[in-house]
């Protein structure tokens, strides 16, 4: 009853090849023969013809051929297929026997050799008596043959040899033993192959010819046999298409057989064989869907053909084998290049095979549980006279029996009993079986893995785990189950998780693994398990026993023998002192105690106690007592405050209230509140709950710490929280007495923040600040503390983190008496104020640029206070910021004008001009101008002593003040230069007692030019009509050269004049030339003077128009007074 009984015979599984026997070769001693043989069998690749060769001695006895039956009339077949048949045709009966013989055409002893050869052929023929096997002769020759037709001797002798051996010409070959051996061999092979095909063709014809003798009633078995045989011969002939056709017919015929209990096994076996052949050919023809369809049909047809109920395990074993072999075929096809899909892959079939193997084991367990006194029947009914059965799938004790009823009921019973006992009694039966199942599963794991099908794999792993459990390899079982458990837990398939946990619990019980046992039972009792409450209650009782350091009751459905062993293990564990403390990380499980910890607030002030609630809820059926609850926080110094502990074992009767407190009632939520004062050093830090530990059991017995990382919660709680948040059941804040578990959220961390300061910080100032002003901000700090504030420190100034330019252009000082400059910082840190009674501080800030900036005022102090009766020193601080806008106080506009108040874009050397400044106040406050002072560049000189004209003036917003200075540029050596001068202004804002601020206004550049000739005119301030008007023009040569000047006076309608109208004169360097004219006005009013054109011959660039600017262009002419007109005279 070895598992191999169900294996398909190897001759069925191999690919049939035409069988050709080679005789007359001495491969051991003859090198030439050896080389020939090697050429035949080496390198048999796919491109060579499919033949299997065998070297046989010349006098080899081939299987005897039975005498052919002439009539089937009285013949009753004994079975479908003989066990030896396939092997016979694959390996024993050749399609062709080739006789190798060393003979050259020109051999001197030709006659003798020829007759020897003929004898050898005859011997072969005799041993093949009755078979259609062909015989061929190969002559091994040393010489290369001549082309056919040329060697007359050869052809002559060849035909002679053929006659002598009774061979046809096609069966005689020549093999020259020369260089091209392999080429000759391949040609020979092809010729052999043709002969073999003819042989198998005739065989097929022969088998077919039997058909007409058969009748449907008695020869049903033969129909199947013959179809199978033709199929097999077709395969040997390499005609796979026809082979498939024959096999299909055979398959149909098998199921037409009258099936009854006695021949069921035979029918199934044959059906399995034929099915295998069909599937194999289908895959070979690359029609996998046909193969799958055939296999499904096969399984559907055979599934119900259980046969004898007492031997049901045989059926499942057979089914398992069917699936496995199909899986193998499929897998092989994939290796060759077929692509599988997820729904159709070998893994499936392996899985089914495994499933049936498991079922077989179960059935074997049921059917083979005989009383121990039932002995193995003697004589052994399974013993067969020969080595093997005659026919496939028959019973050893009634071979060849084909009628419906068993020939001998007594024998039948004995046979069945023997089979059952074999199934059970082979010492390692279960073990072997299990390994077999695991083997199948392992082999199936691979394609499934390839198909990326995680849930499939999980199912497999569960199956494997269970197999290991049955095989009592609990460690391996647990390893597998643990792995799968996590995934099922994550996917929330509680029903599956529960079933795995059940197995795992059994494993851990049987191994005596205390920790695992506790872990699994914890989860089985918890809310994720789908067990009934009785089962939960049983497990919890066991768990409590374990916690009390007692031996738990065995799990149901365990092997009694193993239970015995386990009990001993547990007793050992119990007696063993020490190592009775376990910590179980329950975060990743769904334990039966739920825990949620929360800080009551996300932040606590340092002067308030930190409050923390831990909620516990048990889901187990019975109340549970724990002995300690402690919480670990990120700062371990607080841990001591967060412990609930049984006060003392001896006194516990006296304090029932505490007892009450330490008991978790199923379904009820228990709340534990903790309170502690945060340490002063932790201000600004986070306090986190790093873990919650719940101790079950006791120190004396066995104690188990359930450890939750962080603020509790387990594998299922996050999803539950999510569902609860969606739920309509969510109500408002639950009252303290009745907490809704789902609404409790975990708050695992809190911040300790500093105490709320009780000081007020007032800022007094008047925005906006003026640019450059010493802006005064008055800070008033008022303490409202009960005790004195110590170490008060003020930090004031520009708030850090603003634009870097602002830092450079803002200066802060405490000293308002002096101006601050770049050396002053932008922020004054930690100005000590000392122990403060309310006080004031003034601060001056100077903003050099305009724009808005933020000032920060930060007061810090320490003080003592008491929290919960504990004295602590608190640091408090208060910040105040203010945004300050800076504006420009005034704007200064400057312009240069000529003495005629004409705008100048350049000034001329030694020609006086005016500088005018307008100061426009932009300040929102009245602006007090103290004074101004003109600072001239050395290239410029004031004509008179310049004095400030804006001294002590107060400008309101929008008002402006003007100044005017008369200036002159002394001659400069270079032709042109530019001059700059400054006006420093002293001013202050009138509203505050601030120092006088000096602002320097830079005047714009102006170009200074020298002119070669200076012209000015002397003329009276007015003229009178028809009265002579003397005009003197002075021309001054300012160069070091003699100048030629051409002067013309253009006539004018308003004047007559006397003097030189056009003249050319020469002026010496530095000299002055006067020109005198008498103008005689003809009309009254403003009149244009006759235009004087001066052309400098040496300086053509100096235009007359430029010089004309120095001269008056118009004059007022009064009308002629009447003589004696007093009024006019008076005017």
């Amino acid at each position: 009853m070895s598992p191999t009984q169900w294996d398909l015979p190897p001759e069925l599984c191999c690919r049939p090849l035409a069988f050709v026997a080679l005789t007359g070769l001495d491969v051991v001693y003859n090198a030439v023969h050896r080389a020939i043989w090697d050429a035949f069998c080496a390198n048999r690749r796919a491109d060579r013809v499919p033949i299997s060769f065998k070297v046989l001695p010349g006098d080899h006895e081939y299987p005897k051929c039975r005498t052919k039956r002439t009539s089937y009339e009285w013949y009753i077949p004994k079975g479908i297929l003989k066990t030896g048949w396939m092997n016979k045709h694959l390996n024993l009966v050749p399609a062709l026997v080739v006789l190798f013989y060393e003979l050259d055409w020109d051999d001197p002893q030709w006659k003798e050799k020829q007759s020897e050869c003929a004898t050898k052929v005859e011997i072969v023929r005799t041993s093949l008596q009755g078979r259609n096997t062909k015989v061929a002769v190969v002559l091994i020759q040393k010489k290369t043959p001549l082309p056919p037709g040329e060697d007359v001797v050869a052809s002559e002798r060849a035909s002679a040899l053929c006659n002598a051996c009774d061979l046809s010409g096609k069966s005689l070959f020549v093999l020259p033993h020369t260089d091209h051996l392999v080429g000759y061999i391949i040609r020979l092979e092809n010729a052999f192959y043709e002969h073999a095909q003819t042989y198998y063709y005739t065989e097929i014809r022969r088998v077919k010819s039997h058909k007409e003798f058969l009748n449907k009633t008695t020869h049903q078995l033969l129909f199947v046999r013959h179809q199978f045989k033709t199929g097999f011969f077709s395969e040997l002939k390499q005609d796979t298409q026809n082979a498939l056709k024959y096999y299909r017919t055979a398959y149909g015929l098998v199921h037409e057989l009258r099936a009854h209990e006695t021949n069921m096994l035979e029918i199934k076996t044959m059906a399995g064989f034929i099915n295998y052949k069909i599937c194999r050919l289908c895959f070979q023809h690359n029609t996998p869907l046909d193969a799958i369809a055939q296999f499904r049909k096969h399984i559907d047809l055979c599934k119900k053909k259980i046969g004898s109920a007492e031997l049901a395990f045989e059926h499942t074993a057979w089914m398992s084998k069917q699936f496995q072999s199909f899986g193998d075929l499929f897998d092989e096809a994939i290796k060759v290049g077929l692509t599988a899909i997820q729904t159709q892959n070998p893994g499936f079939y392996y899985q089914q095979a495994a499933y049936y193997a498991q079922e077989r084991k179960q059935q074997a367990g049921q059917l083979c549980s005989h009383e121990p006194n039932v002995g193995y029947p003697t004589p052994d009914p399974l013993d067969t006279p020969g080595a093997a059965l005659d026919f496939y799938g028959q019973r050893a004790w009634r071979q060849g029996h084909q009628s419906i009823d068993p020939p001998d009921p007594e024998k039948e019973k004995k046979g069945i009993l023997a089979l059952q006992l074999k199934e059970k009694d082979i010492p390692h039966s279960v073990r072997v079986q299990t390994d077999f199942v695991i083997l199948i599963l392992f082999s199936s794991k691979d394609p499934v893995k390839k198909m990326l099908c995680p849930s499939h794999r999980h199912t497999h792993m569960v199956q494997m785990g269970e197999e290991y459990y049955h095989a009592k390899d609990y460690t391996k079982a647990l390893k597998l189950l643990d792995y799968v458990m996590c995934d099922y837990r994550m996917e929330r398939w509680w029903s599956l998780l529960t079933s795995i946990l059940g197995t795992a619990l059994k494993c851990s019980y049987l191994m005596g693994h205390v920790k695992d046992y506790i872990t699994y039972s914890m989860e089985l009792v918890g809310r994720a398990s789908t067990l009934h409450s009785e089962q939960k209650s049983r497990i919890e009782k066991n768990l409590i026993k374990v916690l009390m350091n007692e031996v738990p009751d065995p799990e149901p459905e365990c092997d009694p023998l193993s239970v015995k062993a386990a009990r001993a293990l547990w007793n050992e564990r119990v007696s063993l002192a020490g190592s009775n403390e376990f910590t179980i990380e329950v975060q990743d499980y769904v334990p039966f105690v739920q825990c949620k910890a929360k800080f009551l607030s996300p932040s606590f002030h340092v002067d308030d106690p930190v409050q923390l609630n831990v909620y516990l809820r048990a889901d187990c059926p019975h109340p549970l007592r724990f002995s300690k609850l402690c919480i670990s926080l990120s700062n371990q110094e607080y841990n001591q405050y967060c412990v609930v502990e049984e006060p003392c074992n001896s006194k516990d009767i006296l304090e029932p209230s505490i007892q009450e407190n330490m008991c978790l009632v199923p379904g009820k939520i228990r709340k534990y509140s903790f309170k502690f004062v945060a340490r002063f050093e932790d201000v600004g830090k986070k306090i986190e709950i790093t873990g919650v530990d719940l101790m079950l059991g006791s120190d004396s017995g066995r104690c188990v710490y359930l450890n939750w990382r962080g603020g509790g919660g387990d594998a299922a709680s996050s999803h539950e929280a999510l569902q609860a948040s969606r739920s309509f059941k969510r109500r408002g804040p639950a009252s303290d007495s009745l907490v809704n578990w789902d609404t409790v959220t975990i708050q695992a961390s809190t911040m300790v923040i500093s105490r709320v300061p009780k000081v007020s910080l007032q800022l007094r100032h008047e925005p906006p600040a003026l640019n450059n002003e010493m802006y005064c901000i008055t800070v008033t700090i008022e303490s409202q503390e009960n005790t004195a504030a110590k170490d008060v420190k003020l930090t004031a100034g520009l708030k850090p983190g603003q634009d870097a330019n602002l830092t450079q252009t803002t200066h802060v000082t405490m000293n308002g008496g002096e101006m601050c400059d770049d050396s002053h910082p932008a922020l004054l840190p930690d100005i000590p104020i000392g122990d403060l009674q309310p006080g004031q501080k003034s601060l001056f800030a100077r903003c050099v640029t305009t724009g808005s900036r933020i000032f920060l005022f930060h007061v810090s102090y320490t003080m003592n206070t008491s929290v919960e009766g504990k004295e602590i020193t608190c640091k408090c601080h208060k910040d105040e910021t203010v945004t300050l806008e800076t504006v420009v106080p005034f704007e200064v506009a400057v312009k240069f004008v000529s003495t005629k108040f004409e705008n100048l874009d350049r000034v001329h050397v030694d020609v006086p001009f005016l500088l005018m400044t307008d100061i426009l106040s932009a300040s929102p406050w009245p602006l007090h101008l103290v004074t101004s002072q003109l600072q001239l560049a050395p290239t410029m000189a004031a004509i008179d002593q310049p004095e400030s004209q804006v001294e002590e003036i107060v400008l309101q917003t929008g008002e402006s003040a003007s100044e005017c200075f008369s200036l002159k540029c002394p001659p400069v050596p270079t032709g042109t230069s530019s001059i700059v001068c400054y006006i420093p202004l002293l001013w202050k804002s009138t509203c505050a007692e601030t120092p006088v601020i000096s602002t320097v206004v830079t005047l714009p550049h102006v170009m200074v030019e020298t002119i070669p000739l200076y012209v000015h005119a002397d003329l009276p301030s007015f003229g009178r009509v028809r009265e002579s008007l003397p005009v003197r023009y002075c021309m001054q040569n300012r160069t070091g050269l003699v100048q030629d000047v051409e002067m013309t006076v253009e006539p004018s309608d308003a004047f007559m004049f006397s003097g030189l109208k056009q003249v050319r004169i020469r002026i010496l360097p530095g000299a002055e030339q006067e020109m005198l004219y008498n103008f005689y006005p003809l009309m009254a009013g403003y009149q244009s003077l006759p235009v004087l054109n001066i052309t400098l011959m040496r300086f053509p660039s100096v235009a007359p128009a430029l010089l004309r600017r120095f001269l008056p262009s118009r004059i007022f002419v009064k009308p002629q007074g009447r003589p004696g007109d007093a009024s006019i005279a008076a005017a």
Binding site: T343, Q344, F348
Partner: protein, 139 residues
Amino acid sequence: MAVCVAVIAKENYPLYIRSVPTQNELKFHYTVHTSLDVVEEKVSAVGKALADQRELYLGLLYPTEDYKVYGYVTNSKVKFVIVVDSSNTSLRDNEIRSMFRKLHNSFTDVMCNPFYNPGDAIQSRAFDSVVSGMMVQAC
């Protein structure tokens, strides 16, 4: 008709599983769980572009030896799985479709219940009776 009917949440945990009581319930759970991979594969194979006009009915997920497993995915990715005895050859594809449609309608009714919290196990009596109706026909 059906031997097992299951409703699986978007996150692949069961909302509802019922099977014929006579047989090993756990086995059906494994069968349904195993089918989820095929469902995922089929859904993702359709491609994102066609997601809108996707056919909800996924057809035969895979045949096991004894059962045929059919799948259906709603637009909200809730999966329905129906397991049918493979010996029941009279069952046509159309009938499976109509079963799924019925199941979907009933599921929609459940979802419309304001007191039902999506994601919780289905405990509706009406839904139960619809499922029973599908299973009863088998007997």
